[in-house]
Symmetry: C2
Subunit: 437 residues, 2 copies
């Protein structure tokens, strides 16, 4: 863990190296991934089954790729009613927030007599990648699938690896609650390839979303253009801005909730109170002793944890904007006034009783958020990921007479004669038929 005080002379250099570390690219797996994608593209289901046997130690045949409705139902039956109820609370709130996001189109007629606008149209088919193994999170199934459903996507295909044949029943229960009925037990770059190019069993989709390991991320990068993809997820991170009025143990737990995700996860506290900072650091050490995921959380905190001491809460926001965190907690008396100055953050949690963990599960806004400082330009998953815009333009003779000549002039200037003629030939025809115009 790095403890830096903004009043120290070395602060800027240390902070810059911290920023750079948060943007580091992952391992270079371009070659292996290209080879897997080529295999899947060429041999379809056969390649998919062979690769699944190789990487997930699961012998498969094409007809076993998909989970049957019976298998999903059986998995759901293993989940306690309490958990199903909790899943329902989460799903209902996620649905409600994403419905509020649905945008409206535009249509207007302007002074020149042109009617123009923009329509939002849902994608036809979307692929959801769900990691298996240690990061098999049912909450992520809800967060990926529900916005697609709310946007109006008709077909959702989900791929989840089942290493050694093991699946988390709650993942299937979450898929069921989110209305996903097409679920395949494949993962890795091969799953991305199958969804992008299609196989006999898995029809191609138009966009692939969902987090994954370095292979999945690289595969998404390589199929980008052929299909759409969401952001490429890096390690998760949180910045907590806190004054000294919150119980230090709560702040420590919020930091550790981030650290327990992954050894690469990054938890940062920014506070104007140096003594409070030290109390939180001590509380982190205490909590680490009893946490079940202490090995992961300890490694994350030791390597990537940071405590930044600043002169004021305003200065804390300035540093947070430079960090462009995935999650930002404002654990202060007047979080709204700080929030007004936040420019770069995936999601913001305001107030002492609204920790990030609430947003991870039951807040309503999406928990798939921009990592690795990409909140500078990227946004969390939303209905916008599952909609696209078609613009339109309509105009009759009068409108063409008014704006056409400028188009002809620009087309000539760009040396595009047919462009110019496409407009001027119509203007000529109009001049002949309506000599007074």
């Amino acid at each position: 863990m790095k403890r830096l005080d903004i009043r120290d002379s070395g602060f800027e250099a240390e902070f810059s190296s911290l920023l750079a570390a948060r943007e580091e690219q992952g391992q270079e797996v371009h070659g292996p991934v290209a080879s897997i994608l080529a295999q899947v593209r060429k041999d379809g289901d056969t390649a998919l089954c062979a690769l699944t046997e190789k990487f997930d130690r699961l012998p498969l045949s094409a007809e076993k790729l998909a989970f049957t409705p019976q298998e999903v139902e059986a998995a759901r039956a293993q989940v306690s009613p309490d958990l199903l109820a909790a899943l329902d609370v989460a799903a209902t709130r996620i649905e409600s927030f994403h419905r509020a996001q649905l945008p409206e189109g535009i249509r207007y007629t302007d002074d020149a007599g042109m009617t123009l606008g923009m329509r939002w149209i849902p994608l036809d088919a979307v692929g959801l990648y769900v990691p298996g193994g240690k990061a098999a999170y049912p909450s992520s199934v809800l967060m990926n699938a529900i916005p697609a459903r709310v946007a109006g996507v008709e077909r959702l295909a989900m791929c989840v690896p089942t290493p050694d044949g093991i699946i988390n029943p709650l993942v299937l229960a979450a898929a069921h609650r989110a209305g996903v009925t097409e679920i395949y037990r494949v993962g890795g770059a091969q799953a991305v390839g199958a969804m992008a190019f299609g196989t006999k069993t898995i029809k191609p989709v138009d966009r692939i979303v969902g987090p994954g390991n370095a292979y999945v991320a690289e595969a998404k990068r390589q199929v980008f253009g052929h299909v759409g993809i969401d952001s490429i997820a890096g390690p998760s991170d949180v910045v907590v801005i806190a004054d000294s009025a919150t119980d230090p143990r709560l702040i420590a737990l919020d930091l550790l909730a981030q650290a327990e995700h992954d050894e690469l996860a990054q938890a940062t506290l920014i506070t104007p109170d140096a003594a409070f900072a030290d109390t939180v650091i001590a509380a982190v050490e205490t909590e680490l002793k009893t946490l079940t995921r202490t090995a992961i959380a300890s490694a994350s905190w030791a390597r990537n944890g940071a405590v930044l001491i600043v002169r004021s809460l305003e200065e804390a926001v300035t540093l947070a904007n430079r960090l462009a965190p995935e999650h930002l907690e404002l654990m202060v008396d007047d979080p709204e006034s700080l929030f007004a100055h936040v420019r770069h953050a995936g999601a913001v949690f305001l107030g002492r009783y609204c920790p990030e963990a609430v947003g991870d599960y039951v807040g309503g806004p999406n928990h798939v958020l921009p990592t690795s400082r990409t909140a500078r330009f990227a946004s969390g998953l939303s209905v916008f990921d599952f909609l696209k815009r078609t613009t339109f333009l309509a105009g009759g003779p009068d409108a063409l007479r008014r704006i056409g000549p400028a188009g002809v002039a620009l087309a000539h200037a760009e040396g595009l004669e047919a462009h110019a003629l496409s407009i001027s030939a119509r203007l000529d025809a109009l001049a002949k038929t309506t000599p007074n115009a």
Copy 2:
């Protein structure tokens, strides 16, 4: 040119191969581009100047990278007042449409007492790539820069290669009109690298937009994640749906306006009238004889042109949706009723007097549009490319009591103890301080 009739038995196979051809990936330039990016990242301005000398035959030094205001003004002085006026018509209409696109945020308090929502925030810095040489289009400068300005982006950096030192004055005039003041005479993968990683002279940006050749496209793909990028542009295409009531020469010109862009450009006519189709084909041949860009347009039409004869206009729309064209013209009596069924198209042009060329210059909606059938999942450039969303969540003790327990249950189910504790420790504290709650 392929002339296919939907009533012929081979139609589906031929149409499918046409679809596949339109998605073909470009040349594989991963290695060379990775090497260029690494050089720029390592040696900054020095690499940039060396690569510009190598590829653009232009000796440069770091202090000559940027165009001076005097150079921009001198270029502008070379442009005729008529052309500057045409540029202004275009810019004004583009501004107006993109202002209409500006979205509103969300904020509401729900039944559980949670306040939640989403804010739209402009990016800090955007890089615009503008191709030089044969595809140096001032209209594209307007189409890329104006939406960024309208979105509220503070810093716009533009890179345009000047092979042999040659720049189109109208490109600089367009940049000036669009308010771009930071312009560098570099292009290719090296320009993308400079904007993504920054050099001493060119500060890094958060997102890079604008079309380019295969090297530029691959460079954007490789820096994606480090910065945001727009879609990767393929060859331009148009689908014209026409009945027989439009002058065949006008339809021919619309097809050729696409074909003249590039030998890879794709122009497609879909019509229910076979005789009309043949008249248009003949008109294309006639016009090709006199066009200035006849070599390019002829090659494009010969290799990638298509005329599809269908049974009805409705069937024409079905095929157009499968083609997911960049541009779709509806040259029919009642274009609105056809438009209602359009699901996949970048931009639609309705009515006999509204050809695509109008939209290329002076319509108002953006002409940077999804190519290579990506209109299935992608959209044209817009203010949304220069904004990002930050979601937020605020709630007090009562809201936490209502939704917190479901979060605790899900966190436990996912094995994330610190997540659970982050919520439950707050609930415990509340239970102690307010025993009746």
